[in-house]
């Protein structure tokens, strides 16, 4: 009974955190799915979705219902267990990073000492899901998409890690809350502009979004790794993608944009969380903006850019940071 009393609060906390995480994942997918299509329209002087509800506001709900009603088609010679496992593997891990993201001082699931490591480790599972999905589909386009995704994600994880490592050297901690708290006078985007730039580029590549959307390049590979997926198994990939966007933008906010810091809004306890979400969605808007601006890179350009520019620059940045930290 005493054991139960000691672990019960923790269990309740875990359940509440998981529910909040699910709300964030699905709510974010609804908001971003609508915002992305609407913004895509306005970038091309079109109105975007207009038919369902006022200015198409419930279009995503209708789309979700349609996807749920669709049949899950498994190709005849596909590797069925792997084929069905891949969307789950792409979607399930996105809840874990949400547990350690500090939305505000009080609004955080768990403040782990190794928060950053946890996020980066779990985020890498996405690559495995894409590889499994592409391999299990028994389709050349899927396989090409999966290969590209693995090469791209492995390459771009290096500059991403190194640029974040510069911040870790400055703050001496992996805990996200302490990193956010460490930039109360100046945000790290001012002290580490190069690391921020490198992180933004690597972040776009990590989430497989345009201009680095080679794994699903529709003009070359029909839909890349999710060519053979239909209905909910397809939408799990999309949900995972949007949740990953949210996670990488949250990391950028915590590491470079001061986390929840901002002008305190009057009479409101959770102004920190509002500032945090405002920064995250500003970054998401930027992601949508560059998606509808830049054409897709060629694969050799993609790899050249990473290995010849991003990694050397991030290493130099890290070296300078280390020297400065030692001297000051």
């Amino acid at each position: 009974m005493e054991i139960l009393n000691s672990i019960l609060p923790e269990l309740i906390r875990i359940v509440i955190c998981a529910v909040c995480g699910a709300v964030i994942v699905f709510g974010n997918a609804l908001v971003m799915g609508y915002a992305e299509r609407k913004l895509a329209g306005h970038f091309m002087l079109r109105p975007g979705p207009m038919e369902v509800g006022f200015h198409g506001i419930i279009q995503l709900v209708v789309d979700g219902l349609k996807l749920m009603g669709k049949q899950l088609v498994v190709p005849a010679k596909a590797d069925k267990p792997l084929f069905m496992l891949a969307p789950i593997l792409a979607f399930a891990p996105v809840f874990i990073p949400l547990l350690v993201i500090p939305f505000s001082d009080k609004l955080q699931g768990f403040d782990l000492d190794v928060g950053l490591l946890l996020i980066l480790a779990v985020a890498s599972i996405n690559v495995l899901a894409i590889l499994i999905g592409g391999w299990g589909s028994n389709n050349k386009y899927s396989l090409f998409g999966a290969f590209r995704s693995v090469a791209q994600n492995v390459a771009y994880e290096i500059p991403m890690l190194i640029s974040l490592l510069a911040i870790v050297f400055m703050t001496n901690t992996f805990s996200l809350r302490e990193i956010a708290a460490a930039q109360s006078p100046v945000w790290f985007v001012i002290l580490q502009p190069l690391a921020f730039l490198i992180y933004i580029v690597a972040m776009v590549a990590e989430t497989n979004r345009a201009p680095f959307d080679l794994p699903e390049a529709e003009s070359e590979l029909t839909a890349g790794f999710h060519t053979e997926y239909s209905g909910m198994s397809f939408s799990l990939f999309v949900l995972g993608e949007y949740a990953n966007m949210f996670i990488v933008c949250s990391i950028a906010t915590v590491f470079f944009l001061g986390g929840d810091s901002g002008i305190p809004l009057p009479y409101f306890e959770y102004s920190g969380a509002i500032w945090f979400l405002a920064k995250v969605y500003a970054l998401m808007f930027f992601l949508v903006w560059i998606r509808w601006t830049y054409p897709r890179t060629r694969f050799d350009q993609l790899m050249n850019f990473c290995w010849k520019y991003l990694i050397p620059f991030s290493l130099v940045n890290l070296l300078i940071t280390v020297v400065m930290v030692k001297l000051i």
Binding site: G41, H42, F43, M44, L45, R46, W289, T293, Y294
Partner: protein, 146 residues
């Protein structure tokens, strides 16, 4: 080594210029016309199917039922009938139909008309469910327009 950095800067600058172009278009007005609800003004030069011109003098049409258009039509899609009436000079038009399923919009009827009674209409919403939707009663159309 020099080209390594110059490429980086020219490339980066072009990326910023690209972002400027798209953000401008984000805040530009939408050019899409929501068709069934909004319609564009159609140019008067548009050549739709033929229509009888309304005569401002007598409020009716100028057709004298000569039958030039019917004879000139290469697709045989115009049918005209007229009759003599007491007290009226010349023939009176009683039937003017156009079989638009056969019409090739060549305009020979408009060219042939001696009184300029025919002209192209601005009708472009011509979807129909049956063949019979395209047998137009031109005479009825001009009377309805009065």
């Amino acid at each position: 080594m020099k080209s390594y950095f110059s490429e980086l800067f020219t490339g980066g600058w072009s990326l910023i210029l690209g972002l400027k172009v798209t953000i401008k278009s984000l805040f530009s007005p939408i050019v899409t016309v929501q068709y069934p609800r909004e319609k564009l003004e159609i140019t008067p030069n548009y050549r739709g199917h033929i229509d009888l011109v309304k005569d401002p003098e007598n409020g009716s049409h100028k057709c004298i039922t000569c039958g030039s258009c019917m004879r000139e039509c290469p697709s045989d899609c115009i049918v005209i009938e007229g009759e003599k009436r007491e007290g009226v000079k010349g023939k009176v038009l009683t039937v003017f139909t156009l079989d638009f399923t056969k019409c090739s919009l060549c305009g020979a009827c408009v060219e042939a008309c001696p009184t300029d009674a025919l002209d192209y209409s601005n009708e472009y919403e011509l979807a129909g469910e049956a063949r019979s939707d395209f047998y137009f009663d031109i005479l009825k159309r001009v009377e309805e327009r009065k």
